[in-house]
């Protein structure tokens, strides 16, 4: 299952990336890989640079040093709309639904691409609405009027419209009710079964260990530990060291 050590060409490879916000140094040489179809968890306390890593992959912040590869090509410096078209879906931490756009219009932002036939569009919508029946119900409602959980679903559904090869999922269960959390877990499973890779940033350790094949643990802008998710348990001393309170 794991990518490390196998000969599979990684889908995403982050190589010694340094990122600054103004003068503060956030990432100090992060290196990680995600294989095609692999679910990788990225764990760590608040403020260690997990979200910044995702943003760097998405091209929303530019690394001052190091590079990001996607599908074997260097993508550092490309504008994020090109990355989205290449097949990177992004679900940000605060969801960032277009609040004044309806659910349908939110989905169309990812759907109205060149080379997508009407049948294809319908198929994608049908798939998403089958996952999230509530979105079908609310398709003409403004995004801002949805509940937190529904907005999270919409954010994931919206990213799925891009038919991405990988989805960058930033704290999808933050602030959600338990019922919603288990729904998110199912979605991750379904996406995994369909062959979509996921880079999952989470605070919820049990969920991450259960959903991922591999995990990385970050501290102070660096990757400190990596292993297969099955090799580690919630009570592992490594987890305690880097994530315990």
């Amino acid at each position: 299952m794991s990518a490390a050590g196998t000969s599979v060409e990684p889908l995403v490879r982050v190589e010694d990336v340094h990122t600054y916000y103004g003068k503060s140094h956030i990432l100090h040489g992060v290196t990680l890989e995600v294989a095609p179809g692999e679910v990788v968890g990225l764990l760590g306390r608040n403020g260690v640079g997990k979200s910044t890593t995702l943003k760097t992959v998405m091209g929303l912040v530019q690394p001052s040093k190091g590079q990001v590869q996607f599908d074997g090509k260097v993508i550092t410096g490309l504008p994020s709309h090109k990355l989205a078209r290449l097949g990177i879906g992004y679900v940000p931490e605060d969801r960032r639904i277009f609040r004044l756009l309806t659910v349908m219009e939110n989905l169309r932002t990812g759907l109205d691409r060149r080379g997508v036939t009407e049948e294809k569009k319908q198929a994608l919508l049908d798939k998403v609405f089958a996952f999230f029946p509530v979105l079908a119900e609310r398709r003409n409602q403004a995004g801002g009027t949805l509940s937190g959980g529904e907005q999270q679903m919409l954010a994931i559904a919206r990213a799925m419209m891009l038919e991405p090869k990988i989805i960058l999922l930033d704290e999808p269960t933050e602030g959600l009710m338990p019922r919603m959390v288990s729904q998110i877990r199912q979605i991750v499973e379904v996406l995994h079964r369909e062959g979509v890779a996921i880079l999952l940033v989470e605070q919820n350790v049990p969920l991450t260990l259960e959903s991922s094949q591999r995990i990385y643990i970050m501290e102070k802008g660096c990757v400190r530990h990596t292993c297969a998710a099955s090799d580690i348990s919630v009570n592992d001393p490594v987890i305690k060291q880097y994530l315990g309170v």
């Binding site: 504008p79 989205a84 756009l101 990812g110």
Partner: protein, 298 residues
Amino acid sequence: MDAVVQFFQNFPFELLLIQTINGIVTGMILALVASGLTLIFGIMDVVNFAHGELFMLGAYVGVIVITATGSFWLALIIAALVIAILGAGIQIVTLRPLIGRDPLNTILVTFGFSLILQNYALWQFGPVARKISEPITTHFNLFYLEYPWYRLLIALLSASIIGAFWLFLKYGKFGIWIRATTQDRVMAQAMGIPVPWVFTGVFAIGAAMAATSGVLFAPLVGVNHTMGLDWVLKAFIVVVVGGMGNLGGSILAAIFISLLESYASIWVNPSQAVIVSFVVLILTLLFRPTGLFVPTPK
């Protein structure tokens, strides 16, 4: 009391009605100018100082095309296209490098363009105003006036352009891109929307709307190189009074202010009637700085 009675006895009701129609006509043109301005501001925080000059140059392109071909409607289309291309060029060459810098830089750059374009027009076309004849010269009787049908046509055309634009924003693919970008530039780009080109496109559309209004308005007063500043000032007022970046608010404010000015010019001369819109602006800033036609933010 007598004074009041006398005021109403002598009140020029016919004039009031005529001025209402006049106000709506200029209001619709102004709405067309201001929608472009407010759209550009709403999406990219750029206050386009050169908007009035695009209006003016549109009118001049109209003059040239009419002189060459004799067709007003062709002039309308060509002016819109030419000025849209000019607008796109300005945006790509000078505004795009400024994305991410203090938005005040953009007001300076567009101010520079307004100087250039205005002086170009003066140099190229001279100080004497050019006339365009109305495409429709028939009149109808309105009290003691022969009122030109063309004026009503302007209002109608402006309204339909704004209406068509609204539909485009609501249902068109590019329209959804524009609205998504206005709300969240970063997320829009992460969804694969080519935001830099959306900016260019919006600037071009705004420019085309200004040019169209320029051609429509030209038969009423003639075209000269200084007409831009009047319009951009009025459009600024409208955009602030309507709530910056708020399309519906701008349209209402355009009609509201034009009506007020139009009524005011029953009693004072038109160059002083402008002060009425200044007063509206001051009152708006004092009491509802977010805009007159915006629901109070919760």
